[in-house]
């Protein structure tokens, strides 16, 4: 369960002045649901997800993840979250298995549980062929699988993915999409960001359109279609974002 309440994050930038990367965002994402955060470049997707993963601290407002407040109990929140983004790389000098084990230990797993968990995940994600290969020698797809194994090792109830299919080929991307679906089946709370419309159409139970840090529209695909009397998600997105997009350019 994720619930954000007036979540706000501002950055101070010497050239651009104060940037409201996330501006008073409130939404709810329930277990067994996939929440899709849709937005253009610089819309504030990554910042929102980083706030949820407690990598950044909100300037204002807060979020409750699995019953823990991101400001008051960030370590408890992180123990309940699997976070994967384009900026979460692997340690190049560790092997795939060592990488996953390291995060298992940091999450407090004892050695017996860790071994069972690692064996299970490596088999499930079909990763046994490269378990002992160093991360800097892995292909992009193998790296992504290792990253996913890393987020899964402590079996967190909440999964946060920031553009999980970025830079992947169709086959690997499909594996990832399948995996996100599986998370929903297991009753996990899933939130992910993207600007690929087709992924959102296929996966999301609820879609949030974000621009200039503001959550401009929210609802299921069907609800959005009827509200904006458009069938195509891309057209809906443009309709929602266009007025604010021009404003941002002027900034």
């Amino acid at each position: 369960m994720i619930e954000t309440r007036g979540l706000t994050k501002t950055f101070k930038d010497k050239k651009r002045g104060e940037i409201r990367a996330v501006d008073n965002v409130s939404f709810v994402c329930k277990p067994g649901e996939i929440y899709g955060l849709l937005g253009a470049n610089g819309a504030g997707k990554t910042t929102t997800l980083r706030l949820l993963a407690t990598i950044l601290e909100p300037t204002d407002g807060t979020a409750i993840v699995c019953g823990y407040d991101v400001v008051e109990a960030p370590e408890k929140v992180r123990a309940n979250v699997g976070f994967l983004s384009t900026a979460t790389a692997l340690y190049p000098r560790l092997t795939s298995q060592e990488m996953v084990e390291y995060f298992g230990r940091l999450n407090g797993l004892d050695e017996a549980t860790l071994k069972k968990r690692v064996d299970d995940i490596f088999t499930r994600l079909d990763m046994n062929s490269f378990r002992d290969r160093r991360c800097d020698k892995l292909s992009t797809g193998m790296k992504q699988k290792t990253s996913i194994a890393r987020t899964l090792v402590h079996d967190p109830p909440v999964m946060i993915f920031d553009e999980p299919t970025l830079g992947l080929d169709i086959m690997t991307a499909r594996t990832i999409v399948g995996f996100i679906r599986e998370c929903r089946q297991r009753g996990k709370t899933v939130i992910f960001s993207t600007h690929v419309m087709s992924e959102v159409e296929k996966l999301c139970d609820i879609i949030g359109i974000i621009q200039s840090g503001k959550l401009l529209a929210e609802g299921s695909l069907a609800a959005l279609r009827s509200r904006y009397s458009e069938n195509d998600l891309e057209e809906i997105f443009v309709k929602v974002v266009a007025p604010h997009y021009a404003g941002q350019e002027a900034n």
């Binding site: 101070k12 980083r50 993963a53 990598i55 950044l56 601290e57 370590e75 408890k76 992180r78 123990a79 979250v81 976070f83 983004s85 900026a87 979460t88 790389a89 692997l90 340690y91 190049p92 000098r93 560790l94 060592e98 390291y102 995060f103 230990r105 940091l106 999450n107 407090g108 890393r150």
Partner: protein
């Protein structure tokens, strides 16, 4: 603070460090090989140069002296110089190092000496040239013997005792314990080396574990795990500290072994003897006490370099921040090699105090009040640096600088 988590981070960083060629080279290989190579290289060069220079019988010209057969015979009879035929351009011959020196005997020298009138012999040489100064020394020794013989004969002829010329002798006697003699020469260098190598040993891993982690994009990965940032900093810090101490320990060991070997070989007599003496008297307790004193310095460096390089976005950028730090450290460390004595005020100056103390420890001097001041003041500085490093890891604008 959670010791289990600090241990997990430490073990992982250690594993990565052991797999990193750059870390292995900078903190294991360099300190192990530096001193043997340095001493062997310098020793070999010295003994080759000096040995050869001593073997060579220097060629010398004699200017004048046709009316002084006594001194001519004395010079010719010396096996220490080789008299070559005099030429017109003897000066150029000295300058071009064809001959090592020229001895000028004034006209009527033998007569003047016989009549007890003062006379001067002039040795034309090439100042600063080792071979020329060896030749000058050989000539002087030969001539002094000749002069002593004349004095002896003159005194005998006048029925005067030898003491009329030399009423008393002057001699030196050293009362300093032998380790102080050896230590005075090397103490400053050792303290300086240990401190400097501590810094170089901590530099690479400190940058790799902070800026390097940002550069490789793993900072966000590790921050997304439930570990507290304090534990993360401590795990990393202990690894950096380990490398610093291992580097320092290896270099001291390798330095000791090199000196010992050198002392046994007696590659070049004076330095060799000093080294042997030094080696004999730097006991295990001295080494231990140096290490205890260096410990807070190593903590200071490790935390300091980590704090500074955390600002950087890449390893390269970190290097440009850390290099000036090297100068700040070198200045007080070098100053400790000057003849400065430890005072209560100097005991508060970081790095300088530890280098000065190392110098004293090596010479067997234990000023317990200074030791206490230095140890605790450095501990305070180190704690401050560590605190700053932790604070730095909690700052978003440092971790996510764009």
């Amino acid at each position: 603070m959670n010791l289990r988590n600090i241990g997990i981070v430490y073990r992982k960083e250690l594993r990565e460090a052991l797999r990193d060629r750059r870390t292995l080279i900078s903190s294991l290989l360099v300190p192990l090989l530096l001193f043997p190579l340095l001493t062997a290289g310098i020793g070999a060069a010295f003994s080759a140069l000096i040995g050869k220079a001593k073997e060579e019988v220097p060629a010398v010209m004699i200017l004048g002296g046709d009316d002084s057969p006594g001194i001519l015979a004395e010079l010719r009879g010396s096996g220490k110089i080789k008299i070559v035929p005099t030429t017109q351009n003897w000066k150029d011959a000295v300058i071009n190092k064809e001959i090592r020196a020229a001895i000028e005997i004034p006209a009527g020298f033998q007569d003047d000496v016989a009549h007890e009138k003062s006379a001067t012999l002039l040795i034309h040489n090439y100042e600063g040239d080792v071979k020329s100064s060896i030749a000058t020394g050989n000539i002087q020794k030969g001539l002094e013997k000749y002069r002593d013989r004349i004095v002896h004969d003159n005194l005998a002829a006048k029925n005067l005792p030898e003491t009329a010329f030399k009423p008393f002798e002057i001699k030196e006697h050293n009362v300093a314990p032998p380790e102080k003699v050896g230590g005075a020469a090397f103490g400053g260098v050792i303290g300086y080396m240990v401190i400097l190598l501590c810094l170089t040993g901590s530099m690479y891993p400190a940058m790799d574990l902070t800026a390097g982690e940002k550069e490789r994009g793993t900072m966000e990965t590790i921050l997304s795990s439930p570990i507290a940032r304090v534990d993360l900093v401590f795990g990393k810090f202990f690894l950096v500290l380990t490398t610093a101490l291992v580097t320092a320990a290896l270099s001291v060991t390798s330095m000791g072994v090199s000196f010992a070997v050198l002392g046994h070989l007696h590659a070049f007599d004076t330095a060799g003897a000093d080294a042997a003496q030094l080696q004999l008297h730097i006991g295990i307790y001295t080494v231990l006490s140096i290490f205890i004193m260096v410990l807070p310095v190593a903590v200071l460096f490790s935390a300091g370099v980590m704090t500074v390089s955390l600002f950087a976005k890449s390893y390269k950028e970190a290097q440009s921040y850390v290099s000036p730090l090297m100068f700040i450290v070198i200045i007080p460390a070098v100053a400790a090699m000057l003849p400065i004595d430890l005072t209560a005020k100097l005991a508060l100056v970081p790095i300088l105090n530890a280098s000065l103390l190392c110098k004293e420890l090596v010479t067997g001097t234990y000023h317990w009040n200074f030791i206490a001041i230095i140890f605790f003041s450095t501990c305070v500085y180190a704690a401050a640096a560590l605190f700053l490093a932790v604070k730095m890891f909690q700052r978003e604008d440092v971790l996510f600088r764009s």
